[in-house]
């Protein structure tokens, strides 16, 4: 970590919100991308990231100086997304997000539909693993920190998730 980042971390740990904002603002985009890849809804993803940032701020005193902030924050985002999916309202009636409705046109809703459908059949850990690997391009070492495991185990999890994703997609492509 650079000296400027270390200084910001120290200031944020001392309660400086501007320092915290300076640290997490560049991480909003990867956090959002991770949340979208897990939740498949941009509005829910925005909410999940906002809640994650609040949790990160409240817990920042537990952040170890010298650690890398990105995997720490992405771990919180991943856990928050899991909580959202476990929430009591998640499986009930959903209303389309107007921002998403505006953003999505016919083509974009068709493109990737088979993959999204297949991902929905995976468990949270597998979805998280694939999002970190395919979407955020995290090295296995950093993935391991988010997943709370070793690099070897992260690599093995990625492989297993890919195998399962392929199988689901292959089954989807079979003629009925």
């Amino acid at each position: 970590l650079g000296s400027a980042t270390l200084a910001l971390i120290q200031e944020a740990r001392a309660g400086d919100r501007l320092a915290f904002e300076a640290l997490v603002r560049p991480l909003y985009s990867p956090a959002f991308r991770l949340a979208v890849a897990i939740l498949h809804d941009s509005g829910d993803a925005e909410d999940a990231v906002q809640e994650s940032l609040l949790k990160a701020w409240r817990r920042f005193s537990t952040f170890r100086e010298g650690s890398d902030l990105r995997p720490w924050l992405l771990t919180i985002v991943g856990n928050q997304c899991r909580s959202v999916r476990r929430g009591r309202w998640w499986s009930l009636i959903r209303v389309p997000d107007p921002a998403r409705v505006e953003a999505s046109h016919e083509e974009s809703s068709v493109i990737g539909a088979d993959l999204r459908q297949a991902l929905l059949k995976l468990g949270h850990q597998q979805r998280l693993t694939l999002a970190l690997h395919f979407y955020l391009d995290l090295p296995y070492e950093e993935m391991a920190r988010v997943l709370g495991t070793t690099s070897q185990a992260a690599k093995a999890r990625t492989h297993r998730a890919m195998v399962q994703l392929r199988a689901i997609m292959a089954a989807q492509e079979q003629p009925q």
């Binding site: 925005e46 906002q50 959903r94 921002a99």
Partner: protein
Amino acid sequence: MSRLDEPELRRRYREAFDRVSPRDEAVERAMAAVAAAPETVRHPLLAPAAAVAIAMAVVVTMLLGGHNVRLTPSVIQPDGRVANPGVPTAGESQPPPPPVAWDERPGSLSRVTFDPVEGRIGLAGGGGVMVRSPDRGQSWTQVYAGPAVVRDLLWLDGHAVLAATSRGLMRSDDAGLTWTVIGSRTDLLRLDFLNLSVGYAVAGSSLASGQLVKTTDGGATYRPVDSPTRPVHWIQFVDERRGWLAGPAGIWTTGDGGSTWERQRSFEPGTFGDSWLAQIGMRDQLHGFAYYRSTATGMNQAAGVLFHTADGGKTWRLVSATSYPTTPLSGQAPNHSLPGSPTGELVVTGPASAKLLGWLPASDRTYIYSTTDGGGSWTSSQVTSLKGARGQLAWLPAGEWMAVTDFAGNAYIGVRGGGEPDFKLIQVGG
């Protein structure tokens, strides 16, 4: 079937999700949420000390005040001291209360309304939930659950109803059974419509910074319009031409659908500070109330000031005010007292009649207060089955209802028919 090797999977993955990017306003909203978050313990070594301080405060308060004493929210300061926003320390200015978003908590209820034609179909909403009653409030079923926070509900006729939510303006054309998002504004707080197409709303991050916006396409789009004051807290029309708006600076009326506004009452800057919200409740073109209430939290901080008019606002008579903290209108003493700790909006039930939901902190009891003489005198009825709660009342000649969330986070619909002594409480959600 195409070969799904790793590069192909990666390509498909990006194709599926790359089109969705974070909105600038969402980033700023998240940063603002962090900036507004209550102060917490910043240093791990201070946490145990703060916990001990809180525990001691709880024990001392219970010993001194018995079981009915409610602790106001405590804030742990960076040095580990515990500050109670409700009790200023001698020589210190009172710290601002932490932002309270009780009505946006998942499962909370804060709005309730009944169809204006038959008074049969009820809708209540709040934090990520909307429930509907087909039978004057006797039974309720969930019609919406999701991320949207319902901030206002407005019937356009007996079937069409709008919901201002944190995910856009939603509309139902089957009296609340199914909902469709028709507008992308996520900051609408209070709705009012002159007809099915033209309407106004107060928009903003909170009513305290409310801005007047107008739609001419039934709510699909809103645009800011000039308003005679800023912030605007409330707008209400009684027909297509006559309306009123209110804010901390005063009360205005229009007779041409909002094109021009005439000031009816002004308040000196600072009379109603940031914690005060203004509400207009007109019954018809002549009779109604203007109600200013403080949203500050803590004991003895909930306060209200009530005006009544019987001439369309040419004169707004200061009728009553709570006795604490102080009447904010210097030199003008109301003749009557408003009941203690009003916690919700005024519900106008007649030309000179209104109701208020209230909570007495000392006994932790919830009351419904009623006036029939323009706010001069009030009667109270206790909701015996409910401890302290906040929410909204709805009233029709057939009965009255309340959508409330208690301080433990449980949401209830209260139903009371004409003449019944107490509300029947139905717990929803949770």
